[in-house]
């Protein structure tokens, strides 16, 4: 399927695979890490991966809507980071650690 010019001709698939691998890296971080801030950072990584595929599709399908979506994703990411960090600061002030296991105390 992949011919020998995989290395010398960069196309849409290359960007999509890059995006997929980056997304998976972020997903691994969310699943395996226990520090809440590193988990938030992994989520940012996943969102960035999605942005790469949006922009790649935008270029190769000749449509600017993909780039508009990137704006939306970025705004959501910034908002999510702000709330996530505020929660993390609150947790840290109370337990002096930001391990994910303290999040079960969040009610009330």
């Amino acid at each position: 399927m992949q011919s020998t010019n995989f290395l010398t001709e960069v196309g849409l698939n290359h960007y999509l695979i890059l995006s997929a691998l980056l997304f998976v890296t972020g997903m691994t971080g969310v699943l395996l890490k226990r520090n809440i801030i590193v988990m938030l950072m992994s989520i940012e990584l996943m969102l960035n991966a999605v942005n790469i595929s949006f922009v790649a599709f935008s270029k190769y399908l000749n449509n600017v809507d993909g780039q508009i979506m990137v704006f939306f994703v970025m705004t959501i990411a910034a908002a999510e980071a702000a709330v996530g960090l505020a929660i993390a600061v609150t947790i840290f002030k109370r337990f002096k650690e930001i391990n994910i296991k303290f999040f079960e105390h969040l009610r009330g």
Binding site: L22, M27, L31, I37, E44, K59, V64, Q67, K93
Partner: protein, 196 residues
């Protein structure tokens, strides 16, 4: 042409390497700094895709604001002595890794299988592009880049404020809610500005 290819592989290496570093470092500050590196790399990938304005916004929003917040919070906490950075259970960890690997395989496999489809779409749009703009370029992909991407800031603005205007307004409402919520959280019990 060859510089574009070299650029892509170099950037892919940087982005994936720093992405892996984010989850492999046990010190969260190093993770955050590698994430900054990944963000800058992603901005450069946007440049190779011709999305200059998006690349600039990526630098301003992610690298300039969001990640500075992360790094600041981490430095404020001073978590140098953190030892348990990964989840405890060995079996559950292995299960998670396996599922992630499966997911990766599925996605990459799907992309590779669908190659024919995307290439066809691509050629179709390329044909349309070169029909509208008869620029004498070397390859078709460059024509494409000229039509959509070079100096498309005005097009972006027009589309954002006409076709996607409701989404844009909704984002404005969301940001207001977030701002209020964040301040409320920070001033609540145990927060930085707690009222005793």
């Amino acid at each position: 042409m060859i510089t574009d290819v070299l650029m892509f592989w170099f950037l892919a290496l940087v982005v994936l390497g720093s992405g892996l570093a984010v989850i492999l470092f046990t010190n969260p500050v190093y993770s955050a700094l590698s994430l900054v590196m990944a963000m800058v790399g992603v901005a450069a990938v946007f440049v190779t895709l011709g999305a200059y304005f998006i690349a600039g916004v990526q630098l301003i929003v992610y690298a300039g604001a969001v990640m500075v917040l992360f790094v600041m919070v981490l430095m404020l906490f001073d978590l140098k002595r953190e030892t348990h950075s990964f989840a405890a259970g060995k079996i559950s960890g292995a299960l998670k890794l396996i599922s992630v690997g499966l997911f990766a395989g599925l996605v990459v496999g799907g992309i590779v299988m669908s190659q024919g489809y995307f290439v066809k779409e691509n050629e179709k749009s390329l044909g349309a592009a070169s029909a509208t703009q008869s620029v004498n370029t070397v390859a078709g992909s460059q024509t494409n880049l000229n039509v959509v991407n070079t100096d498309n800031t005005k097009v972006l603005g027009t589309v954002l404020f006409s076709k996607h205007v409701f989404g844009f307004e909704a984002l404005g409402v969301l940001l207001t809610v977030i701002a209020v919520g964040t301040v409320a959280l920070a001033r609540s019990k145990g927060g930085t500005h707690a009222k005793h």
